[in-house]
Symmetry: C2
Subunit: 306 residues, 2 copies
Amino acid sequence: MSEWVTVCEVGPRDGLQIAHGIMPTAAKTRWIAAMAAAGLREIEVGSFVPPKLIPQMADTAQVVQAARTIPGLLVAALAPNLKGAQNAYAAGAARVTVPVSVSEGHSRSNTNRAPMEQVAEVGRIAAWLAEQPRRVILEAGCATSFGCSIDGEVPTAAVAKVAEGLARAGVDTIALADTVGWGNPAMVHERVRAVRAAVGDKLQKLHLHDTLGLGLANALAGLEEGIRAFDSALAGLGGCPFAPGAAGNIVTEDLVFLLESMGLATGVSLPELLATRELLAAGLPGEPLRGALGRAGLPKTFHPAR
Amino acid sequence: MSEWVTVCEVGPRDGLQIAHGIMPTAAKTRWIAAMAAAGLREIEVGSFVPPKLIPQMADTAQVVQAARTIPGLLVAALAPNLKGAQNAYAAGAARVTVPVSVSEGHSRSNTNRAPMEQVAEVGRIAAWLAEQPRRVILEAGCATSFGCSIDGEVPTAAVAKVAEGLARAGVDTIALADTVGWGNPAMVHERVRAVRAAVGDKLQKLHLHDTLGLGLANALAGLEEGIRAFDSALAGLGGCPFAPGAAGNIVTEDLVFLLESMGLATGVSLPELLATRELLAAGLPGEPLRGALGRAGLPKTFHPAR
């Protein structure tokens, strides 16, 4: 049996939040169902944020409700604060991801709080969730862990400090996010080690953007450090409305190809996943779709991992 | 002092050979001079092939003659056979690269010879070069070392066997080429080790294409194996007229960014290198230019290696 790597699709959240158009709710749920049918086991389907700020996410409660009827799918949603987490819980999300920026500038731009204030908010979310009858996984995403287009360089020690605060605040898992895509493999090695020294196995995932073309090389560095979970977006959608210059997420289908071709199992059928690009294109006409596999197709020598 | 990595620009050869238009000789030499001024120390400026087959390369002798007047630049040229190597020598190339396909199908399509027949031709080239008064470096590029769009999978043992033959034939250095871009990091680790076991330090370089988006991840795997030289093409030009489905080379500016941001020195000034994209665009109107750095620009936190 091959080793398993979890690929969490974040296109319906990170991708659609910055798209030029608004994908209709029915198109979102069709697309999500098709990606789940292609084998993706975790999908971040939206975010519970004020519709005035991000109108593309106004229907997230409906999308969560529809997605949780899909057998075997872990339905994740983003929430920037307690109210959002409560809404995610009410809608039936299985995991709530709370963004916590390491850099002051992005933190204030994204959540209107200083980093350690947002860590405290995560503590309130953890406490509230612990009192609810249904168990929901609480994930924190350490945004700008590899640099910030507002503040510039972000020290490794600052990332470890925020992660340590999050572990103490009671999160279940931590992801390091390269929000603006300025990371490189040497940084991935260094920061994964530093954060693991601070919080151990609570560090589970990398969330990478491909602004400078290093996304998959950074994922490889993460794999070498033992990371076995990644966020990515079909067709490389994505960006951050509050991080100037950020480009799309690493491309899910290219990431799955990297993993499977190296003998790491993802459970994803690449032909079926590639076919879902058409649903995305139909639901969001005019949005540019990226990705090498989408352009070149699967090579005839490809065998999925077993 | 940082460790050094050699980046050999192959756009004027691998890129222009498959371009839709023909870049005028004066535009080629201007572009090459600008890339050398940006710090590239090795440029493969053309190939000595019949102009009927590849008309874009008809002026290679002139381009070599112009390029060898640039101080400090190693002028390389490709030659598929003895006659081409003699022409490269006569024009004044400092290095001749001879392609030797590991797969039978690509070998016959590219050079009209079986792999071991082409190895024998390399032996004739080595013998002829050894008799000349001027020393010229003989490099062999093992094409289709990671798969072939005609023959499919290419066994590691076949790559090692061809490399061993080339070492015996008297080449100075060997490059492994992922001609169709089907390699992955696990294959890079495996094949670099196998070929090094066969030929030792004669294996010096990887020539990677980015068909499936894994190009820079593959370069990272090569770095981890101790490879310190790479071919690449500005703006990701490139492909092979005799390898259906092959996409462009890894992008020089993105590769340099990967290396420099990891503290590996290349001697290249990225702002100056990025500026040469305009000369390329002017000399080859309508040709699509790829590359993350060209799109996103240098992040403000970037510092070159020292």
